[in-house]
Symmetry: C2
Subunit: 622 residues, 2 copies
Amino acid sequence: MIKVTFLPDNRNIEVNKGTSLLEALAKAGILIETPCGGKGICGKCKILIKSGNTNISNLEKKFISPQEIEKGFRLACQTRIYKPIEIEIPSKIRLNLQPVLSSFLKGEKKSYKKNLPLEPEVEKFFLILAKPELDDQRSDWERILEELSRQRGRNHPPPQISLSLLKKIPALIREADFKITITLGHKEVIAIEKGNTTNQMYGIAFDLGTTTVVGYLIDLKKGKEISVVARTNSQIIYGDNVISRIEFTQREKNGLSLLQKEIISTVNEIIQEIIKCTQINQKDIYEIVAVGNTCMQHLFLGLDPINLALSPYISVSREEFYLKAQEISDLLLEPETKVYFPSNISSFVGSDILAGIVFNSMWRKKRNSLLIDLGTNGEIVLSLKGELWACSTAAGPAWEGVRIAFGMRAVDGAIDKVKINKRRINWHTIGGIKAKGICGSGIIDLVSEMLKVGLIDRSGRIVDREGCPAEISQEIKNRIIEEAGERRFLLVKSNEKEKNKEIYFTQKDIREVQVAKAALQAGIKILLKEVGISVKDIQVIFLAGAFGNFINKQSALRIGILPDLPLNKIKSVGNAAGKGAELILCSQKIRKIGNEIYKKVKYVELSSHPDFSREFIEAMSF
Amino acid sequence: MIKVTFLPDNRNIEVNKGTSLLEALAKAGILIETPCGGKGICGKCKILIKSGNTNISNLEKKFISPQEIEKGFRLACQTRIYKPIEIEIPSKIRLNLQPVLSSFLKGEKKSYKKNLPLEPEVEKFFLILAKPELDDQRSDWERILEELSRQRGRNHPPPQISLSLLKKIPALIREADFKITITLGHKEVIAIEKGNTTNQMYGIAFDLGTTTVVGYLIDLKKGKEISVVARTNSQIIYGDNVISRIEFTQREKNGLSLLQKEIISTVNEIIQEIIKCTQINQKDIYEIVAVGNTCMQHLFLGLDPINLALSPYISVSREEFYLKAQEISDLLLEPETKVYFPSNISSFVGSDILAGIVFNSMWRKKRNSLLIDLGTNGEIVLSLKGELWACSTAAGPAWEGVRIAFGMRAVDGAIDKVKINKRRINWHTIGGIKAKGICGSGIIDLVSEMLKVGLIDRSGRIVDREGCPAEISQEIKNRIIEEAGERRFLLVKSNEKEKNKEIYFTQKDIREVQVAKAALQAGIKILLKEVGISVKDIQVIFLAGAFGNFINKQSALRIGILPDLPLNKIKSVGNAAGKGAELILCSQKIRKIGNEIYKKVKYVELSSHPDFSREFIEAMSF
């Protein structure tokens, strides 16, 4: 074992010879940004080796200058550990998602306090059993079944019981003087406990996001949300989008198993935090419901995701799936705890979207609605009075700061709001600290404002200083810079605030935004065309996903991310996926509805749609 | 680890310090007789220590003379191993059941050759799946389910699949070019295989007897019995009846786990032997059905049997039980193989008797019948045109040679047939070798013949020489010996054949036979009384159990083991339990019938029955 020290944390771990630095970081619990998923093609994971390893690959030389090489800079993803090493991890590449998470959670709390409808799959029954007599020689299990049937009604088939629970019965019921509580779920026994424990009954709804995993603890007796805990999906170190993670499973031996371990470890952290905060017992958690995109479901279950990424894009299973916690190694739940994965709609429209449909009652026949879920991917669902269509677009990366020169996640120091008028530029950073880059909502504001004052034209081209509208001040005009044939806009000057570095928004960045918004817009157009209605026929747009809570709708409308509808018809619904998962956890009826509609959602595959290219190109302009 | 050598086998094993000699014998695979279950109260497990241990307990001194102690005789059950030791195991205490098993199997083959009705729980379907296309993006599992549903009919609910099988699907169906065979059982997927394997489909029916375990391999495609393999239940070393085994689970730490391991190891031996003999693949065995008495079911599953032995005699579960082979550690079957335990009727009337009822169609409304299953226990079932009553009696031990001075199991050297007339005594031994003792069928013959010629009277008393009928020869009269106030009958003289030792049948032995037959007779009487019919109303008696094939019915009738009916109404049906298990394996319909009638069988608890004592005493006379 070789010692690795991470600075400035001064955290020490030991790893096997040849371990990759990414793996070592994961082991140490330090999360860093690896947008390309560790392939060595983005150059973002630059770290500083203070002592130890010195080799460098040609790949790394593309991203690291000779002076930097001299100092010890390397790419974390290309470094393997062969001898004791000290490594400094610069704060700028660390993932510090606290601000996003807390505002995310704030958004949750605000919009969602009502009680949940209560008819959970998990049920508890307190049974007082007749004691055995010579003229009542029923078996222990029969005694339980018959008392249960008396309470529940005779029309329920008897639940199945596992051998391991059956083994516990004779001692348990006698110690409990034949007074026990039995917990059922999905036609099986989940637990048998001494005495009356019917008041302790919890479940957790999980939204397994590509970037963020959120767990909602629900009191299944009262139908109330007790606790919400979010954590960064620690798979992120192996790729920040599903495609790079799928590639990782193919590239690395045991890649699938590594990714499964990471998501399980994130879920375990959430469970532990929930238990710590609420002081409930782990054994009182009887069911978890997990929604996520189809790839996350595959990675959690350890199903090979490769065919999701290869045309014609096939999942192993999109059907609802029940399992016991014991089937997933290391999951910190009682062995018999139920784990329920609702159905996925398609390979790229997961159960998170099904949960969103359910949460927003889009299956009802009452109106036409559109759900736009902007996360790392962008999914769109259209409801024509309950008839459903869905598609998925690669609309996300730009909004997460990926492929944008100064792009970054919505963490401390990210510009999240921008205002431009004739004379002034105002911007705001998360945490109110010095600007380090620009995140999704800032990008949308910036493009929208530049468009508004005429700094870019409808085609997305940054105008030259001469082409600027006359009323724009010279100070602003001077921010348009042309160098090596590419125009860019200076958003933050190095001297504007102390120590602020210059932040630019380039012509190429605008093209990325155009591609992302065109993908989304083309998706919406094609869905509308498939259904045969126009934007005007839509009564409400649900804007979901963490992102949906923070963007300026006016800006989004102006640059065409959202269809042209009055602002009051656009409703931010927060994390619809998580809220839908809560409903599925709390209501058998809603669970059934979800499992009835998933096959009825008509999935429109955009990549092979005959109109997609044309719509996409047409949507490029603002 | 300490070396133990068994002579004359010269077999060496190593054990931990303090291991009991019984355990060491089990480990070495040497089976010996331990009628009392290792409690040190029968003194039958006498072995000779050639070198090593020398301690002796006071308990042992009761059974071993000072001269024997000097030589190194000890009781195996009381000896623990602390230093290297050489032990001679006398052949007379070894269990060598080959002759019984082979005649047992011969009996099977003879009486049971017809094809089985075929509609097994296990079903196979060969599926040619549509290959994925951009306009057919169904998941792998959905593709399978829909093709399955097309073949099977839409009215079947989709089967459940385990996560571990689901994981295998994507690679398997692509390697198989989308041509696969799926095996279903009890609403679940048991296997998914490449190509068309519908012709390979096997199951094993097990009769888990207290003494003998029999496995019947069935070709579930053809409904034919392919192979029958029997083995001594290796639990026997820890007690030769269920009560002594239950006591063992309480007395020994890990006793239950030890007993479970033994029965699993016996079942594994049978599976291996079947595979070896038939050359089938282990993976082609998709279901096993196991019947046995309630205690054997508990011990196989690892359920605590203690409450079976304590009034009011309660089982953990008597309901039918499905599990997967993987839930039983070390069972040599594929993890997903179904293991089915049919329902037990009561704590002392197990699924073996249910199988016997099913096999003899006693549930049909066509006639009145009586089933007598004589194994280590005696179970009786009465059918009044399909209405069923059952009871269990401790009728067995004497028939197995237990508690009889020269009693032994039906192995080589056991006297199994006896004829006495005025002048001569003829007897026959199993294997035709010199007589070592007398087994069950010999005991019945002997008592019956002694009764016939007047050597014992109706009360069971051996008459004195003077009291003998006049026509009896002096030679025979001289065989009646009176010593220390007890009479006994000299069956075999030491000089009758070379090296033959003297074999006696004592007054006490006759009392044991009287107790056993009285228990059986009282049980039958009470059942008849409960139902309100007389013996004359019975149209047929089924005589089941290994024993049932070998006894002389005339002798059994004379001494009152069988009710007084014409011989042609008494039908030996062989191992009805095993044959019933075969039917349950082959026919869903019969399985269902079994599971419908088990609760309708009215169990009569003899121990608390008000008439039992009286009937028992009345039945003591011949």
